[in-house]
């Protein structure tokens, strides 16, 4: 029959020992030793020898022994003996029979191992979960670091993830993309193409790669290379698709641009030659072939010296190669020879092309046939020389003509007692177009004023003719102004129909009543300034002189009084313009100017008129001859 200790230990896993006040153990049941995997130890055995877990708990143990505390426990102590055990260690206050405490060891191996199994599983799951979170974070970070758009979708076609680049490419956020299908993230016009491609991949498995245009929901068009692969699901079937996009939109655009550039080069009206660094021809365009007669096949692999004409020196070519070899552009004209031997000039620009390392990898020559241009230039130079010579001759003629005209212009005014005569003449050009002649004629005054067209040598010659005729006619009909102009007109129209003039011929007699009689051939009207202050234009107009023969000219008469002043002038005065381009004009403008200048002597008044005119013109340059002739009737005949 088993005793209490055997029943407790075998049935309940409870072992005990008594503790003396000096902490010595009284182990009456050897089952405790067996449980702890120990042999029975000889001699006195102390509490801490068997249960070193109690070291450090001296105060707790002392409290239980003294009875100030009834019990003390260390739960779930793990030891490895010949097997792994878990036990709870109890110490109870136990005073009977001179004892101090009852030590109880309660086996908890079964619960401990069970608890460890549960805890182990839970910890492993937590660790696994942390690892998964860490891995997902790593993969997410990795994906976001990849510049190419990447997505993954389930086998139903719904996006389950993507990187930042894909979200940016689609112009949606990651949250907006996840859960959607391709029909909801790209335009419907192309979404079915992509879903069909996905279905093909899910059926066949493996990898799919293709190039396709894609239009986003925002209308943005791109060109993309798709690389897709199917990944397996948990059931072993298709799990979904992972796709990587390479956006080649810019590359496509570049290819198109290069293609356009290639076409432009090929169709260029200039001949284009590309060589390697040694000068070996690698490319010629159609224009080169058309111009030189060499075919593409004949030119490729050759050196451009196949075009050498022998015109240029060796130094010329050495300079060219030295320039482009140093990485600079060379520009110049070269005389080359075609395949058929014909020579032609080219304007050539040769530029080096560098690689990323700065090394010359090609030379490009753009050449323009300037043979015709050179010929035209030669003609132009020749013509220019002739023109220059002709111009020099003309200048010499003009100088002669100027001297002639200078000689023809009257410098001294006739002296007539009955009147004062003043003249201011400012020729605009080397050869002035205005002419005047004032003569004393039997006590009276004959005055001829004209403005001829042109300022060249011809005008000078014409002026000589006018001078001759005007002098001749004074003797013949100096008293009859109308007839004077009619005769002058008849002579000029007969001999020189291409030249014409405006003219006034006047005769002033100084009898009892001084009388001005004049005829006007298209000339600005004389101005009469009365001594009483009145100022007005005199007479009327007549036809231009020399345009057509058989013209009649009316004679006008104006009675004058002492102090009255009569002015003849040419159109340079009324047509003087200010800086705004407005003319003085023949209406009130000219008369007002004369009115303002009326002062002092005849000469002072005329100088004042020119001052007024200069002031009106301002900094605008003089544009025509300026002629003003003044006659003042004297109050008392001088010298009479």
């Amino acid at each position: 029959m088993k005793g209490v200790p055997e029943i407790l230990s075998e049935k309940f896993g409870i072992y005990y020992a008594l503790v003396n006040p000096d902490l010595a153990l009284d182990v009456s049941d050897s089952a405790l030793f067996r449980y702890l995997g120990l042999e029975s130890l000889p001699g006195t055995l102390f509490l801490a020898d068997l249960f070193y877990e109690l070291i450090g708990f001296d105060d707790d143990v002392a409290a239980v022994i003294s009875g100030s505390r009834q019990e003390f426990c260390i739960p779930t102590i793990n030891r490895v003996t010949d097997r792994e055990i878990y036990f709870d260690l109890y110490l109870y206050h136990y005073p009977p029979a001179g004892r101090a405490a009852l030590l109880v060891v309660k086996d908890a191996t079964s619960e401990g191992l069970s608890l460890r199994a549960v805890q182990q599983r839970r910890n492993e799951l937590v660790l696994k979960n942390q690892e998964l979170i860490s891995n997902e974070y790593f993969i997410r970070t990795l994906l976001d670091m990849i510049p190419n758009p990447i997505y993954y979708k389930d086998r139903g076609g719904a996006y389950i993830g993507c990187n930042d680049a894909f979200a940016k490419f689609i112009s949606l956020t990651r949250e907006e993309i996840i859960g959607k299908t391709v029909h909801e993230v790209v335009e419907r016009s192309n979404s079915f193409f992509f879903s069909d491609k996905d279905n093909d991949l899910l059926k066949t498995g493996g990898v799919q790669q293709f190039e396709a245009p894609i239009t986003g929901l925002d209308g943005k068009k791109s060109h993309v290379i798709f690389s897709k692969a199917m990944f397996p699901g948990e059931d072993g079937g298709p799990g979904g698709i992972v796709g990587v996009l390479i956006d080649i939109t810019e590359r496509k655009r570049m290819e198109e641009r290069l293609s356009q550039l290639g076409t432009a080069v090929e169709k260029s009206p200039a001949s284009i030659v590309i060589t390697d660094p040694s000068g070996r021809i690698e490319y010629v365009n159609q224009k080169f072939c058309d111009l030189t007669g060499f075919t593409v096949g004949e030119a490729l692999g050759e050196n451009p010296r196949i075009l050498k004409s022998g015109h240029h020196s060796r130094e010329f070519y050495e300079g060219l190669w030295s320039t482009i070899g140093a990485g600079h552009e060379w520009r110049g004209e070269i005389l080359n020879r075609k395949k058929n031997g014909a020579l032609y000039w080219e304007m050539v620009s040769i530029s080096p092309i560098f690689d990323d390392g700065g090394n010359i990898i090609h030379f490009v020559a753009v050449k323009e046939d300037i043979t015709d241009l050179k010929r035209a230039m030669e003609e132009l130079v020749k013509t220019g020389n002739e023109l220059r010579r002709s111009n020099e001759t003309m200048q010499e003629d003009l100088q002669i003509a100027r001297r002639v005209v200078d000689a023809l212009i009257q410098k001294e005014m006739p002296v007539i007692d009955a009147c004062a005569i003043e003249c201011i003449y400012r020729p605009f050009n080397i050869i002035g177009g205005d002419y005047y002649a004032l003569r004393a004629l039997d006590g009276g005054l004959s005055a001829f004023v004209c403005d001829i067209s042109g300022h060249g040598v011809g005008s000078a010659l014409f002026l000589s003719l006018i001078r001759y005729l005007s002098g001749l006619l004074v003797a013949e009909c100096g008293y009859e102004p109308g007839r004077y102009l009619a005769e002058l007109n008849g002579h000029l129209a007969a001999v020189m129909s291409t030249y014409f003039l405006t003219a006034i011929y006047a005769h002033v007699s100084f009898d009892e009543t001084p009388l001005l009689r004049f005829s006007n051939g298209g000339h600005p009207h004389p101005i009469v300034c009365r001594c009483n202050g009145d100022i007005s234009y005199a007479g009327d107009n007549g036809p231009l002189v020399g345009i057509s023969p058989y013209m009649n000219y009316q004679t006008f008469s104006v009675e004058l009084a002492p102090g009255d002043r009569v002015f003849f002038y040419t159109d340079g005065l009324p047509e003087t313009r200010n800086r705004e381009g407005r003319e003085i004009g023949l209406d009130d403008g000219l008369l007002n100017m004369f009115e303002r200048a009326r002062r002092g002597s005849l000469k002072e008044m005329m100088e004042a008129i020119f001052e007024e005119m200069d002031r009106y013109r301002g900094d605008r340059p003089v544009e025509d001859d300026l002629l003003l002739i003044g006659i003042e009737i004297m109050k008392q005949a001088r010298g009479r």
Partner: protein, 176 residues
């Protein structure tokens, strides 16, 4: 003089507390993970200066997580502590402060060191400075002595336990 000092090994679960004790006591390492339940007390004698020795009673206490806490009874009477974190798990390093605070609350004045374990994962030459860079630079941790340990290759394990023993001795560790 022969001392007997209780030293608690604290830290989150699976940071390598048991492995550090195994490396120190038995100079062995097992890469299979076995969760500790309750407490497992191991013993090892270390030599101090002269003829002095100390029997270290190493209390390898079950690691904690959000749902389990260390029994305060396990910590009572400890002369020193090793607070262990896993360099590859930031959350275990963040918990060091909490474990240290608990230990210091129950055993004010006791010595302690910090073990940043599994440093073999970040390189063969990972040293103390590298380990310290992984720790929060605040509170008691900022002044604690830190050891970059690896139970796998044994680096700094022996020196850490010895350093802790000397620290306890320096604090006047009582003879037991």
């Amino acid at each position: 003089m022969e001392y007997k000092w209780k030293i608690t090994i604290l830290g989150d679960f699976a940071v390598g507390k048991t492995s550090l004790v195994q490396r120190f006591v038995y100079n062995t390492f097992s890469d299979s993970y076995l969760t500790t339940i309750g407490v497992k007390v191991s013993r090892k004698e270390v030599k101090l200066g002269g003829t002095d020795t100390a029997m270290l009673l190493l209390w390898d206490i079950a690691g904690t997580d959000l749902f389990t806490q260390v029994s305060h009874d396990y910590l009572r009477g400890a002369s020193g502590a090793i607070i262990v974190g896993d360099i590859s798990r930031k959350d275990t390093l963040a918990s060091l402060e909490k474990h240290l605070a608990l230990f210091r609350e129950i055993n004010p004045g006791s010595g302690y060191v910090i073990a940043v374990n599994k440093t073999d994962l970040i390189g063969a030459d990972a040293g103390t400075e590298a380990a310290r860079r992984h720790l929060p630079a605040t509170g008691a941790l900022s002044t604690a002595e830190v050891f970059a340990t690896s139970a796998l290759d044994g680096r700094n394990v022996e020196s850490m336990f010895t350093a802790l023993a000397k620290k306890i001795e320096g604090r006047g560790g009582s003879e037991k």
